[in-house]
Subunit: 339 residues, 2 copies
């Protein structure tokens, strides 16, 4: 049933070479021969074997997708889902399919990403950052396989990375608080050791200083970007003596958790100002609609694809790009409104 190039060749009365040339659009094959062979291929539903092709050529037209770190273990964080969706669309248009590496440890304990990429001989890969990034990711970075990092700083010669301007993210949030009259501002970060969390914290402290606001260390807490952690952290804060009236959470999910904690504690969410980050679709629908600092997920995915493409085609050396965030004002800064 499964035809090989050899059989097609025999059927058509030509050599393998000729069939192969037809497949690959070589010039030196006659029009009638080409037509005849194509018909035979069509008739038998022949498709060249990918394995054989990528063994012979050195190109696979496959991009490896790596979710590094714990956050992404399930690759279902809304932010990254949208980024990868956009990435996939753009790469798809270039003829690439995406290979998602399962991060379950199986087989050998020493299995690492570089090995997997070499094994599959992917043309390039995208690495989605997170907290607790496995060190083996950096072996990949150092290799000659083109890599594009999202929210992770890659430094290899054939790598690049892209992320939102995270200091700006915090600036936008704090600025808004300030203009709304808030002065007692807290911060909920993601995992303490994650890059973007650090950058946002740094930006936070910097902008607070700029506005002459003092940062209360008791109001700086860390979650893990997911909702439960926001709930967790906020619940604790609510038990303290001093409670911040305004809160910037490093993800919408955590902001949502915090809001829930406020409600559950019997407080009125109206008395608080909350700003989230990401602008996931849900944030528009929650109660109250969440004011948030939007990351342009669509653009990040698309740019990641463009850069990776250039990296693969050697049109580009190591590049880092930052994407502008944008403040989306909704209704979760109610306390300020009342002022």
């Amino acid at each position: 049933m499964k035809m090989t190039i050899k059989e097609i060749a025999k059927l058509a009365g030509v050599s393998q070479a000729t069939v192969s040339k037809i497949i690959n659009n070589y010039e030196d094959v006659g029009a009638k021969t080409k037509k005849r062979v194509l018909e035979i291929m069509e008739e038998h539903g022949y498709r060249p074997s990918y394995s054989a092709q990528s063994l012979a050529k050195k190109v696979t037209k496959v991009i490896g997708v790596i979710y590094a770190g714990k956050i992404n273990a399930n690759f279902n964080h809304p932010f990254f889902v949208d980024v990868v969706s956009s990435f996939k669309k753009t790469m798809g248009a270039e003829g690439y399919d995406l290979l998602f590496f399962s991060n379950e440890k199986f087989h050998k304990a020493d299995e690492n990403y570089l090995a997997r990429c070499q094994h599959y001989n992917v043309d390039g890969c995208i690495i989605i950052g997170g907290d607790q990034v496995e060190p083996s990711v950096y072996d990949l970075d150092k290799s000659d396989i083109p890599c594009i990092g999202v929210d992770i700083q890659l430094e290899g010669k054939t790598s690049g990375y892209i992320m939102t301007d995270n200091e700006k993210v915090s600036s936008l949030a704090v600025e808004h608080f300030y203009l709304m009259g808030q002065r007692e501002i807290g911060f909920i970060g993601g995992k303490e050791n994650s890059l973007i969390s650090e950058q946002r914290l740094e930006g936070f402290e910097k902008i607070m200083k700029t506005y002459g606001l003092s940062v209360n260390q008791n109001w700086i807490k860390f979650g893990d970007f997911f909702e439960d952690s926001g709930y967790q952290v906020m619940s604790e804060m609510l038990k303290e003596h001093e409670i911040p009236k305004a809160l910037f959470a490093a993800s919408d999910l955590m902001a949502m958790g915090a809001i829930k904690a406020i409600k559950d504690s019997g407080n009125s969410v109206q008395d608080f100002s909350i700003i989230g980050c990401d602008d996931i679709t849900a944030s528009r629908h929650i109660d109250p609609p969440l004011t948030t600092v939007k990351q342009d997920k669509e653009k990040i995915g698309k740019m990641a694809a463009y850069i990776l493409n250039d990296l693969i085609n050697k049109n580009l050396q190591h590049t880092a790009v930052k994407i502008e965030p944008e403040l989306i004002v909704r209704e979760s800064c109610g306390a300020a409104k009342k002022v």
Copy 2:
């Protein structure tokens, strides 16, 4: 830099065959030789080429992932994201990686899924159903490649499918309405030609009859499972003479859209009873928290993986399994509450 088996063999002073046997855990190789070769492999970071391996063996350890139809074009519908996430986890534990086919048309217009699967020689594939499923999907179904369908009815000898019991879904919703005193019940389906939408409508009409309720055809509308369509459809309904007081939407996203439409129209959402379907994470956080019929996404993904595995290992013939839905009561049936 990139080592081949031949070079390893030379370095170790053995034949290729021996090295290959070591890689594949053959019995007939001496202990010291094995040790020596393994060390050399380790030292040079050697990894067998995937292409060469899967050309020689006939197995790829890769599963194709196909998002059929329009709904999933961006593979970012929260329901399917969670299903696939769970699927990935389970398959990953079995040593499979996932290949996501880009659904952008590129290259040849006649490119179809079967061709892609044959091309990559995947061990099996998962097909995520939707509306407007491309006919080429059924060629794949008919082939001898093991397929598991989610929300799509596959009939091939080496296929199976899994979905929530959709008639039960509607029953749960209508039952709840009934118990809450609602009698004027409307239905918002997904795309009219999608399987699950049809099944839910069928279940809806059946259960309405059971309860002796008449279904008003003006209250049966169709969207596309996404939020905007829910908004759209609800807005129109609100302009009509008769307006249903209770509404079952075939997806949480559409329910959210409908709620927004109600609010925007100046009506009080308290005057309506809304039930959604899926139980995506956002539904817990919206205003009001959405009562919904939950699909067990985790279980569906896991079962899909199990079935596919059995299909691949020929431990199973064609199978269809239905998963029980569950009603999650929250606060979006407020009108009933007031009764």
